[in-house]
Structures are given as structure tokens and as C-alpha cells.
């Protein structure tokens, strides 16, 4: 063996051993941390077929990333580049032992050499693209608007630098190999040959030195890269693959998960002594939760869509995830210390990290500020966008659960709503006695369970009409309820309501973290629904829909639930309703988060609007999957929105830019928030009024124009002139 080869082998192996030791130690720490965390729900790790498909589509095809075309493409190239560059690493290691090492079978074929060189050059190109994007969208320039705001930027630049190093060291030793005659490819590797021409003047000896040093450098760079990756956010390179495989399918939206402790569902009637109620410490996350944190690439796609972040609130889903991850890693020594003595011996900083409250203000040294935690509307835009399937909403709610169930710490106004739910069964504290007032102005009788003395739904009833709290009690929503009832009546669909026997589904309570109250309400409702024999249910509220359809199965209630837009679209399609009268109007449609993103009901409301002659539908820029929240979800409707601007106003602004006559939606919460926002933008006496209403109302205008011009409720007694009364 030549001196050169000995040098290569010795240094190369030494560097490798050291790097593997460092990386291994780190991985071991991460592994032990994962072992400390909570187990996942049973069944979470099964379902290999779906997993495989997901892997192929998402990781290899980088499906979600492709939505941001240019950077997506760059990322795709980098990713495939890495796979191919992996081959060159094998070649590099081979060259430590055998000077003209070539891969078996294809190792000397020209096309491989060409491909490897192309990939190397493309990798360099994408580094340039990345750098340009980062410079252009630098937080320093764009501030909060930048999706990289708050990302660990130094780390990202370091990685770009290392990738460059990988490429140039590779080309360097390959060029030298060409000159010294040990290059496995006789032709094809054009870039390496170009480098060779540059190196030619160094002569035989010079090139030999460059080759030896180059190989060692290439191996070293790769090893340093490995160590850096396992110590940085680029852990996501490995973690994301596992994370996507283990993600909730089809997506982590719709139903929230039950409260689990030790992997088992908590029994709220008789909870175990040490049962965890949500996440109060970072180690209360499941290991899948920790894997979520490790998988975050800090790309900021979630942040760029987040309604809270976009209206000046401190919550960014990315910063939320990063905050938890940085804390988890910093707390690791504390958590992994063998005993109290070892813990006491830790450096001050590590001990302080161990004692930080998970949720707390800056003053309390909290990891997540309460304002961050309570700003989330659970709209799911982040989950929708995340390329590595992080389950933000579930984590936010899990943190809220601990605050609510264990600490009783939550925004004061939410308490009023919770009390009202407990005592009156609706968030406004009106009580069951008021739940039928919506039907009073109708010219036909609305059937109410129990009116005819029966305590079960009669056989002729096709649908139980679940009115919902807003639908029964809010003025604007009552109009929708009446419109839907009138249309069903017109179509000859027989339906019945529960009247005062209905109570809130518990959506807001659950999203505020009050699983206990949610269970109480849900169980009561399931008991009622089962007792009356309900099978098919139609709802007008997206939140009721989500609860009844997706969450009630968790408490044993299984029903066929349809949203009114679905049912009405069917009735129109089957000819039971015929929209004939043109409604000459330009309108826009706002996708409710809990109808669209959470439940994929995009088409029916649009079909309805499309069926109405005269209607011109203008889609807003952010629509369907990327619809922008109205601000009401996640129990935010019952909390004061004092930080930044109002989410509902921001959305109303966007919709008004389309100059519509009517803003439509298909959820009472959205209509309320957008109504509020539109009123705020237009001022008290607008030159051109804009109406905010449900799509059902538009359909009604076409089907039954006379009925739609519903008079506002008269005051109970006809007004009389003051002079004419005796006080």
C-alpha cells in the first residue's frame, strides 16, 4: 500500500469513526427521549399499505412541496440529488480502500458518470435557488410576512454551505482521479472531466496529492454533514420519512382525538389516579408527537397560511412546533438524568430548562405563551400545508386540555361560555325554552319531537333536522334555519326537530380543551338521538356537522350526517327542487374550515350556487383547501380578539375586494363573523350594501322568491304613538 493510500484509509476511517460515535450518541439520546414520551394510540402504527402509498407520493414525489412550484422543484431536485449523491458516497468510501473503486455492474458505464455529474451540478444550482429565495424572503426584509420568520436561519445557511462543500470536494477528487487515471468512468462524467482539465497543470504528483486529499475531504465533509444533521433541524431528513408513515390518515383534521394517557383513553367517569389530562409537560407528548417536532423543516408553509399569524397574533404554528422542539431537546439532559443527584449536578441552564412551565408568559419563563396557545382557531390550514404531516391542531388542543382540565387556566370570557353550556345547554345561556323561536314566523308547522305524544321519530321522518345553538338562537342563523326548513318542506322531505331537547354538540368546549364537558354534552345528545331512533341527520352548522359525523362515534353515536348543502344539492340534482327564478347577483363563497378543509365538502355549495340562474360566482384568492378562516373556530368565537386585527375582518376585506353583492357561506359561525367584518368595512351607511348570507338563502330566492323576502320579525305589539297610551 502506498503512503498515499495509507493516509487515505487511516484518516478516512478515523474521521468516520469519530463522526459515527458523535452521531450515534446523539441518536441514542433522541431514542431515550422518545422512550420517555407517551405511547401512541393503539393501531396508530398499523396500516402499512396506506403508509407505503403515502411514502411514495409524499416523500418521493414530494407532493405537497410541489405546490410552491419553484422552491418545490428545487427541493425535489435536492432530495433526489441526495439519493444519487448517496451513490457517490459509496464510491468515495470504496476509494478509501481501492484506488479505482467502481460500483458493481453499472459502476463503469458512461451514463452513470454523466448522471452523477448532472446531479452534482443541479444540486449546486438548487443551492443557488435556495439562497436566492432565502435572501429575497429574508425575515429581515419581509418581517412577519416571511415564512422564514423565526426559523433557525444560521443553521439553514450552514447546511447550504455544507451541501456546496459536498459537491465541490466530490468534483475535486473525481477531477484528480481523471488525471491520475483511477477514474472509474472512461467517458460521460463531463463535469469531472472539466475539473480535470483545470487541474492538469498540477502534473502527476500534484494530482495524486489532490486526489488523496480530495477523497479524504469528501468523506470528512459527508461525516461532518451527518453530525450536523442529527444535531439540527435537518434531522427532518430522516424523521420526516417516519413521520409521514405514521401520520393520521387521510389527514390530521376533522375529529379531535380522545384524551389518552399511557395510550389508553381516559375514562372521565372514573379516571386513574395518575392519568394525564392533555399535555402539561413536553414529555407528556407521545413519541409520535416528539417525532412531529423532529420532523419540522422550518419551512414556514404553515405560518404563511395561519390566520392568527397573518393578523398580527403571536401564534405561528411553525414557531409553536419549533418552540416545543427546542425545549424538548434542551430539556433532554434533565429528563434523562439518572436520578435527582444527577439532575442537581447538571449545569444551571439545563436545570432551568427542566423547570420551565410548558405554558406560561415570558415573565414566567414559559415555553408557549398563553396568548399563543389561545390564539389558534383550529382552522387546520397548518396541517393542510405541512409537507411532513405534523399534527398541529391535535397538539394545540392537547396543551389546552391540560390548561383547562388541570390548571383551570383559560381566557376569562371562555368561562362564561362553558358555564352557559353546563347550565343552559347553549353558549349564550338562553336555555332549551328558546330553541323553537326560530320556527315561529314560518307559514307551515315544523314538526317537533314529542308534539304528537310519541317519543320516537315516526317512520315517515326522513331526516332529523339538527338545528344547532346558533341556528336556533342567533338572528342571522335563524334565517338560514328557516330557509333550509322551507326548502325541505317545499321538496317534500319530511323532517323533525328535537326542539328543546337538543343541546350544544360541545364542539367549542372540546376545542377549548374541556373534554370533560364535551363528553357530558355528547353523551347526553347521543342518548337523546339513540332514544328517538335517529339515523339520518341534517345540520346547517359546520361545527355541529364535524362533531356529529366525526366525533360522536367516539362516544358511541353512529349516524349518517349530511350537511344542508349536500342534501339541498341532491334535491336539486334529483329535481325535487327547481331553481327557476334568476337571481341576478355577483356573489362569492367562503369555505368554512370545518366544512372544507376538515371535511372536504367543497363541491355541494358550489353546485347549489351554480344551479341558480343568474348567479355569478367570484372565487376569492384563498379558497377551498387554502380558504382563510373567519376566526370563530376553536372556541375563539367566545373569546375577545384583542391582539392584532380581527381575523374575520381580514377575511371580509379579501372577499369585498371581489366587489360582490352578496357574500355567502354555509356555516352560521362564518356568517356571523363575516357579517361583522363586512359591516366594519362598509361603515354604517354604505353606498353599496353587501349582504352576508347562507347559500340556502340564495337557493330559496330562486325556488320560492315570494317566501324568501321574509319580513323581519315584527315587534310583539304594534307600536303606538306615545301620546295615545296611558302610562
Amino acid at each position: 500500500m502506498t503512503r498515499g493510500m495509507t493516509f487515505r484509509l487511516l484518516v478516512g476511517l478515523l474521521v468516520t469513526a469519530a463522526a459515527l460515535a458523535l452521531a450515534g450518541r446523539r441518536l441514542h439520546v433522541l431514542y431515550r427521549l422518545g422512550r420517555l414520551a407517551q405511547p401512541v394510540a393503539p393501531g396508530r402504527t398499523t396500516g402499512a399499505a396506506a403508509v407505503l402509498r403515502a411514502e411514495v407520493v409524499e416523500v418521493l414525489g414530494q407532493r405537497r412541496l410541489l405546490r410552491w412550484t419553484l422552491p418545490g422543484l428545487a427541493h425535489l431536485l435536492t432530495f433526489w440529488g441526495f439519493l444519487l449523491l448517496g451513490l457517490t458516497i459509496v464510491e468515495g468510501y470504496g476509494a478509501l480502500f481501492v484506488r479505482d473503486f467502481a460500483l458493481p455492474v453499472v459502476g463503469r458505464q458512461a451514463w452513470l458518470g454523466a448522471l452523477e455529474d448532472t446531479v452534482a451540478l443541479l444540486t449546486l444550482a438548487s443551492v443557488v435557488v435556495f439562497a436566492a429565495i432565502r435572501l429575497r424572503h429574508a425575515p429581515a426584509r419581509e418581517g412577519r410576512r416571511s415564512r422564514f420568520f423565526g426559523s433557525h436561519l444560521d443553521g439553514a445557511w450552514l447546511i447550504l454551505f455544507m451541501i456546496t462543500n459536498v459537491v465541490w470536494t466530490l468534483l475535486l477528487y473525481r477531477g484528480a482521479q481523471v488525471n491520475t487515471g483511477y477514474f472509474p468512468f472512461r467517458s460521460g462524467a463531463y463535469a469531472s472531466e472539466a475539473v480535470a482539465r483545470l487541474l492538469e497543470p498540477l502534473g502527476e504528483r500534484g494530482n495524486t496529492v489532490v486526489e488523496h486529499v480530495g477523497v479524504v475531504l469528501a468523506v470528512t465533509v459527508v461525516m461532518v454533514f451527518l453530525v450536523l444533521v442529527v444535531h439540527s433541524k435537518h434531522l427532518h431528513i430522516g424523521a420526516a420519512v417516519a413521520n409521514v408513515a405514521l401520520a393520521r390518515r387521510p389527514r390530521a383534521l376533522g375529529a379531535l382525538q380522545p384524551v389518552r394517557s399511557g395510550g389508553r383513553e381516559v375514562d372521565f367517569e372514573d379516571p386513574g389516579e395518575d392519568d394525564l389530562m392533555g399535555v402539561g409537560k413536553v414529555e407528556d407528548l407521545t413519541w409520535k408527537g416528539l417525532l412531529d417536532l423532529a420532523s419540522c423543516t422550518e419551512c414556514g408553509r404553515c405560518q404563511s397560511q395561519c390566520p392568527a399569524w397573518n393578523t398580527g397574533k403571536p401564534l405561528s404554528p411553525k414557531l409553536f412546533v419549533m418552540g416545543l422542539r427546542d425545549h424538548a431537546l434542551a430539556k433532554a439532559p434533565y429528563l434523562l438524568a439518572a436520578d435527582d443527584a444527577a439532575r442537581a449536578a447538571l449545569p444551571d441552564a439545563a436545570r432551568a430548562e427542566g423547570e420551565r412551565p410548558l405554558v406560561g408568559t415570558a415573565q414566567e419563563n414559559g415555553v408557549i405563551d398563553p396568548d399563543v396557545l389561545w390564539s389558534c382557531t383550529t382552522c387546520g390550514a397548518c396541517v393542510e400545508q405541512c409537507p411532513v404531516d405534523i399534527e398541529h391542531v391535535d397538539h394545540v388542543v392537547d396543551l389546552r386540555r391540560h390548561q383547562m382540565l388541570m390548571e383551570s387556566a383559560f381566557p376569562e370570557e371562555a368561562g362564561i361560555m362553558l358555564r352557559n353550556l353546563e347550565h343552559a345547554g347553549d353558549p349564550w345561556g338562553r336555555g332549551g325554552g328558546h330553541r323553537l323561536e326560530w320556527a315561529e314566523p314560518l307559514p307551515f308547522e315544523v314538526r317537533v319531537l314529542g308534539d304528537d305524544g310519541a317519543d320516537r321519530l315516526p317512520d315517515d321522518v326522513e331526516y332529523l333536522f339538527w338545528v344547532g345553538c346558533a341556528g336556533a338562537l342567533d338572528d342571522a342563523a335563524q334565517r338560514t334555519t328557516r330557509a333550509v326548513a322551507t326548502l325541505l318542506h317545499e321538496a317534500g322531505v319530511s323532517f323533525m326537530t328535537l326542539g328543546g331537547a337538543e343541546t350544544c354538540t360541545g364542539d367549542a368546549a372540546r376545542r377549548a380543551g374541556n373534554e370533560f364537558l364535551f363528553r357530558m354534552l355528547a353523551q347526553a345528545n347521543v342518548e337523546t338521538l339513540d332514544a328517538v331512533g335517529a339515523r339520518r341527520i341534517v345540520v346547517t352548522c359546520a361545527h355541529c356537522f364535524n362533531a356529529l359525523a366525526n366525533e360522536y362515534p367516539q362516544v358511541g353515536g353512529h349516524y349518517e350526517v349530511v350537511h344542508h348543502t349536500q342534501l339541498l344539492a341532491d334535491l336539486v340534482a334529483s329535481g325535487r327542487l327547481t331553481p327557476v327564478t334568476p337571481v341576478e347577483t355577483t356573489l362569492t363563497y367562503h369555505d368554512a374550515c370545518y366544512l372544507g378543509r376538515h371535511n372536504r365538502i367543497f363541491a355541494p355549495p358550489r353546485e347549489l350556487l351554480g344551479a341558480v340562474p343568474g348567479v355569478r360566482l367570484a372565487e376569492p384568492p384563498r379558497t377551498r383547501e387554502r380558504s382563510f378562516c373567519c376566526g370563530a373556530g376553536g372556541a375563539r368565537m367566545w373569546m375577545d380578539e384583542t391582539i392584532g386585527t380581527r381575523i374575520g375582518h381580514e377575511r371580509a376585506r379579501e372577499l369585498l375586494e371581489l366587489s360582490p353583492d352578496v357574500v355567502t357561506a354555509a356555516c352560521p359561525f362564518c356568517i356571523l363573523m363575516l357579517g361583522d367584518g363586512v359591516a366594519a368595512h362598509l361603515g354604517p351607511e354604505p353606498a353599496r350594501p353587501v349582504e352576508v348570507t347562507d347559500v340556502a338563502e340564495i337557493l330559496l330566492r330562486s325556488v320560492l322568491p315570494a317566501r324568501a323576502a321574509e319580513p323581519a320579525p315584527e315587534p310583539a305589539e304594534p307600536a303606538e304613538p306615545a301620546g295615545g297610551t296611558t302610562p
Binding site: I416, P427, G429, D474, T642, P715, A719
Partner: protein
């Protein structure tokens, strides 16, 4: 009441004279209403705890109190209800009283309750109507948050009835009032709760919103920050606090801390005046427990009228100042 005694004793609430404005001492309206009730049941008599100046005696006489018992001792003002209980029982002990009427408010019910225990009498509170009947007064009560009406009769001892304001009209029935001073020995237990200081309310400005007995609230109809002056003026005339709808606080016409409703404060005053407020459920959630609601709104179809006890379809900017003037005129 096998042997009905002739006198129906009304425990009178007085308003002391105000030297600043020169307003003479007077009798609170509910006490005068109770004299009307007393006339239905027997011979009205009045009990004044504290100084009974001529003005007060004259008013009582004009409304039918033939006898005015006066217990004027420093203890009456210096301690909580105990001394008044002693005073009532002392008068009843004279043997002429067949029924005791008190106002169904905090203090009246307290005195009534203790008197009932001492006399071993039945007591009825929250009376909205009292009529004479076989076997004693027949009392109509609003029970369970006013959703039900119950009629009942006291069957033991000298009936004690706490009468709600407005249960009867004030009717003049002039008689010559005879003042009888009564000396009372106060039981030591009656002197257990001593009033250490008494700060007149005026000095504290407007009451705190959630604690105020009266709230006058303005909405988008008020139109501007300056517009709230008329709302404030009415609040001050009624000794109330000022509130606002979110529409008004969003416009920064009035402080955010005064917002009433779903995402603001919850209030349950005895009187709520809604001026230029439409009455959205988000607003109602914060004021639906108000006992009496007065609404002023331009739009006869505004939902707020559905829950108003008195609604005025009109412009608040003209109406509110007129109401303030009208109240001042009546007080003068």
C-alpha cells in the same frame, strides 16, 4: 289571625333631607304603596326608625297612616337591621298590630325574616299583590325567577309580608297622623353588627359596571364618541353605569372595558336602558338577566324590542336629553 288586630304596620323607608339642594325629607315610594295595601287589610300605621321630621309625618298622613310610630335612637342608624327588628317587635308587642308590611328589598326582607322568627310568624316575600281574604291577607308572589305566580296565606302568628315595589298604586287618603314615640330597649345581640363608616355614594362617581343597579348602554346608533354624552347624562340621572355594545367599543366611541355581551362584561342590573342597540344575541348574552329593560331605537323592527319592558321607536339623541330633563323636573 283569629282575632284580627286593627293595625297594619308599614315599616317606612325615608330619604333624609338634602341640605345642599334644600330638598325636604321624604318617604320612599314603595312605603307609600304599602300604605295603600295596608288600607285594604285594616288600619294603616307607620313605623319610622330614625328622625321623623314634620315633612315625613305629613306625607304619611296624606297617604292614610293614622298612627306614626317613631323610634328615634342613635342605634337605629349605627347598626345593621338588629335595632329595627327590636323596634318592630316592640310596636307589635303593644298588641294592636295584625299584620306587618316591609319592602321586599334587601333590608326589608332581613328585618321581616328576623321579626318572623321572634314572633313565630309566617312570612311571605316578593309579594306582587296583596288582597284581604278569609283567614287573612292573600298574597300573590312571583316565584322561581318570576316564571310562576303563587298565592299563599300566612297561617301562623302575625303575618309578615315583604311587598315588591309596584305591587300597588300610591293613593292619597288623607288622615290626621298621630305621632307616637316608642322607647325601645335594644337587645345586645341586635347591636352585633356596627356600621363603622358611611360614605355617600355621590363621592364615588358612577358605579362599577358589573355592580351597578342601573346600566344605560349605547350602541352604534349613538353615532360618535361625543354622542355618548347623552347616554352618560341619563346614566348619571339614574345613578347608573354606562355600558356599550361591541359596535360602539370597536369604533372606540367608548372604552373596551365597558363592552357588554358575549366577549365583554355580563351585567344583571335592575334596570337596563339600551339606546341605539339592535339587540344581537351576542349582546343579549351579556344583559339578558336584567330585570327591567327599556329600549330606544329608530327601527321598530329591532330585535331588542322583543325583550324590552318599554320600547320607544325614536331618535335617542332627542329622546334621552328629554328624559333627563323630565326626571329632573319631577324631582324638583
Amino acid at each position: 289571625m283569629s282575632d284580627p288586630a286593627p293595625q297594619v304596620l308599614v315599616l317606612v323607608e325615608t330619604v333624609p333631607a338634602d341640605p345642599a339642594t334644600g330638598r325636604p325629607a321624604t318617604v320612599r315610594r314603595p312605603s307609600l304603596e304599602q300604605l295603600t295595601v295596608a288600607r285594604r287589610l285594616g288600619t294603616p300605621a307607620a313605623l319610622v326608625c330614625g328622625p321623623a321630621d314634620d315633612d315625613v309625618v305629613a306625607v304619611l298622613g296624606r297617604h292614610g297612616a293614622a298612627t306614626v310610630y317613631v323610634v328615634d335612637a342613635p342605634e337605629v342608624g349605627g347598626y345593621l337591621v338588629g335595632p329595627k327588628v327590636d323596634a318592630v317587635t316592640a310596636v307589635v308587642a303593644r298588641g294592636d298590630v295584625g299584620c306587618v308590611l316591609v319592602t321586599s328589598n334587601a333590608e326589608g326582607k332581613e328585618v321581616g325574616g328576623r321579626v318572623a322568627v321572634r314572633l313565630g310568624s309566617g312570612i311571605v316575600t316578593d309579594a306582587v299583590d296583596v288582597q284581604a281574604g278569609d283567614g287573612g291577607p292573600v298574597v300573590t308572589q312571583a316565584v322561581v325567577a318570576g316564571q310562576w305566580l303563587a298565592t299563599s296565606q300566612v297561617v301562623r302568628g302575625v303575618p309578615v309580608i315583604a311587598v315588591r315595589p309596584n305591587a300597588a298604586p300610591v293613593e292619597p287618603a288623607p288622615v290626621q297622623a298621630v305621632v307616637e314615640k316608642v322607647d325601645v330597649t335594644f337587645a345586645p345581640a341586635s347591636l352585633g353588627a356596627r356600621v363603622v363608616t358611611r360614605t355617600p355614594r355621590a363621592a364615588t362617581g358612577r358605579p362599577e359596571l358589573t355592580a351597578a343597579p342601573v346600566v344605560v348602554a349605547g350602541g352604534r346608533g349613538v353615532g360618535s364618541a361625543e354622542g355618548f354624552a347623552v347616554v352618560e347624562a341619563l346614566a348619571d340621572a339614574l345613578g347608573g353605569a354606562v355600558g356599550a355594545s361591541r359596535a360602539a367599543t370597536d369604533e372606540s366611541w367608548y372604552g373596551h372595558q365597558f363592552q357588554i355581551g358575549q366577549t365583554g362584561k355580563t351585567v344583571a342590573p335592575a334596570l337596563y336602558v339600551a339606546a341605539g342597540i339592535s339587540g344581537a344575541i351576542q349582546h343579549r348574552a351579556g344583559m339578558q338577566s336584567a330585570r327591567t329593560v327599556v329600549a330606544v331605537n329608530k327601527d321598530a323592527k329591532a330585535p331588542i324590542f322583543a325583550l324590552a319592558d318599554l320600547g320607544v321607536v325614536g331618535d335617542l339623541h332627542t329622546l334621552l336629553p328629554q328624559v333627563v330633563a323630565e326626571i329632573a323636573r319631577r324631582r324638583a
